[in-house]
Symmetry: C2
């Protein structure tokens, strides 16, 4: 008896473009913010298991070093999502590539089959933006109107997009050590129709109700803001820290703020929480989403979302994108694994035995 | 300035078949045994970094539980190979799939780009066979003529193939609790032209110069051989243990043997070495390959290769297969990541900006 070989769904840029054209970028972000909120509210570690990410430092002296790592999330009886992501500040110059390059692979845990491989560059931007939107909804003042962005790279685009879906932003103040990046940012987010202006850092710090730091600051070279003259209610989404030794915020700010990590075990090693004693670290984001009334008072005080990137977010965004793609018939199906022949013969397919049995050749790409 | 988006090479069953047709299965195995020997001899942890595998238990009561896990190997400045593999004894019945399903993904560590995704089912069989061949060449009697295989599943096929490339096998005795598997094994390895006969376990144990155990024995249900009447020079390749609690060999045999793990940190948690105190565990395979004269005396005594699966093997087999594929022009190139547009704009490609700039649409699959 032969079984049809299971296939792998590939989702690349043209599929994502068709998906975004069909669903709408705003609707997609709204759905993701909602799905992430629900996932955090219903987080059950007996159903969804998320070990902290592991990885390797990639040294590229004399410039800031990067990391390449893997983040797995297992939904019991369903799927294993493995995100492999690298954060390499050298990418922009030499290769014309984003700092953050990632792919998401989804395995069927019932069989071990690779069910899907998709782009993680767009997905990372979406989910990192959505995480800040969820955190800010629970921790920032609901009347926040001025957003300050420190670091105008790729992640800043979706930070702004996501926060614009949750707050009525009247002004967006942006700052980057690279003045070209700050200027080009205005063009990159033109589609949002907001008032976006490059601003000196001290002015940005004074005016912002919500700040996002999303920089490639080198290990030991932070902080990237002074934190002296922030609004008493300012909320900060610190997005950039992703490796030991890297931090964006001043210690004094962290000490006077409620610091909410996305994933405490990881944030203590790689996030702003590296700078704090364990008893100075606040609840994780899931706890805040589950018990909002407990932390409501903090909306008028300084708060920090320590966003290191949680595999829960990867799982949620991957699922959302795959659900839309399957519904819309997007993507390409390929046969990748040597499956479909005699399960006891790993040489059967490569020697052509299975074809001899079924009488029909198989092609690598979907029909 | 726009750069061409890097692409991902996919290697599936038809590509592997063309590769095997072109190179020859025997030559491929010989090359792999040689490449693995060289890799073990030259193993330098400052160049190739291999953390032990991590994973999740997949419970499928009442049958033996399985595992799904990931094994990364980083070659500094070159590539990260991530093997995701599951060992699920339920696969054979329900889905008609091999117990072991795996894929190998190769990332360029200079950019984080996913350079290749390939089948890991055939690759697993090849490399697990090659590892036993290397271990047996250094630990078994060079005059070994009788091979005993306990467990006649997929891995037994390549154990036999690999060992037949290193020893002049005159007789192959095979045993499986499933008599159908033992019978079908004779057909599956017909291409080797060897004298292969299903044999009662006690006879197999008495006669074999080299044994391979490659079973799906449940945790706590071993051992799968008695070990009482083995030849005084018998060498055993224990291939099946891959999770805590699973073991194939009797403790008395382990105690009187030189036990050589592929990867000590992993073997102590998942292999036969679980049964031993640390001071009862011998050198790892790399040490034996590097200092063969130190262990030559053991070729006439009982030895055990505790094969849990080393990411070094995955790295070597992946590299060998990809080198052949690239040389032969095999595989399919696809664009998977959202790359090639403005590296600072994660929304550029999905909104179609990059196409507007370059004036040419991109297709998902290679030209």
């Amino acid at each position: 008896m032969t079984h049809p070989a299971p296939r792998t769904l590939l989702l690349g840029p043209p599929d994502l473009r068709a998906l975004v054209e069909g669903v709408g970028l705003d609707v997609l972000m709204d759905e993701l913010i909602q799905a992430l909120t629900v996932a955090l509210r219903e987080l059950d570690e007996s159903v969804l298991q998320v070990p902290k990410r592991e990885g390797f430092q990639v040294v590229s002296e004399p410039r800031p070093s990067g990391v390449i790592g893997w983040m797995p999330a297992l939904r019991r009886g369903d799927s294993l999502t493995v995100r492999v992501a690298s954060s390499l500040p050298t990418n922009r110059g030499e290769a014309g590539l984003p700092t953050l390059v990632a792919t998401h692979s989804v395995y069927d845990v019932k069989t071990g089959h690779l069910a899907a491989v998709m782009d993680g560059v767009f997905a990372t931007a979406l989910r990192t933006g959505a995480a800040s939107a969820v955190a800010s909804r629970y921790l920032a003042s609901p009347d926040s109107r001025v957003l300050g962005l420190v670091g105008c790279g790729a992640q800043a685009v979706s930070q702004l997009h996501a926060l614009s879906r949750v707050f009525r932003l009247e002004q967006v103040l942006v700052h980057d050590l690279d003045a070209d990046a700050a200027r080009s940012f205005v063009r990159r987010v033109e589609f949002l129709g907001l008032d976006v202006r490059p601003t000196p850092l001290p002015d940005l710090e004074v005016c912002a109700d919500i700040l996002c730091t999303a920089t490639t600051v080198a290990r030991g070279a932070g902080p990237v803001i002074s934190g002296h003259a922030l609004q008493p209610h300012a909320h900060v989404n610190a997005v950039g820290a992703d490796q030991p030794g890297k931090a964006e915020l001043p210690l004094a700010l962290l000490r006077r703020s409620l610091v909410v990590p996305d994933f405490p075990a990881q944030a203590r090693l790689e996030g702003e929480c590296q700078q704090l004693h364990p008893d100075q670290i606040g609840p994780d984001l899931a706890t805040v989403v589950q018990q909002p009334e407990e932390f409501q008072g903090w909306r008028e005080r300084n708060t920090v979302f320590d966003s290191t990137g949680h595999a829960l977010e990867d799982h949620v965004v991957t699922r959302l994108l795959l659900d839309h793609a399957r519904r819309m018939g997007l993507g390409t199906l390929v046969a990748l694994e040597s499956l479909g022949g005699d399960p006891l013969d790993p040489y059967g397919l490569v020697r052509g035995d299975a074809d001899a049995r079924t009488g029909s050749p198989r092609r690598a790409t979907g029909t």
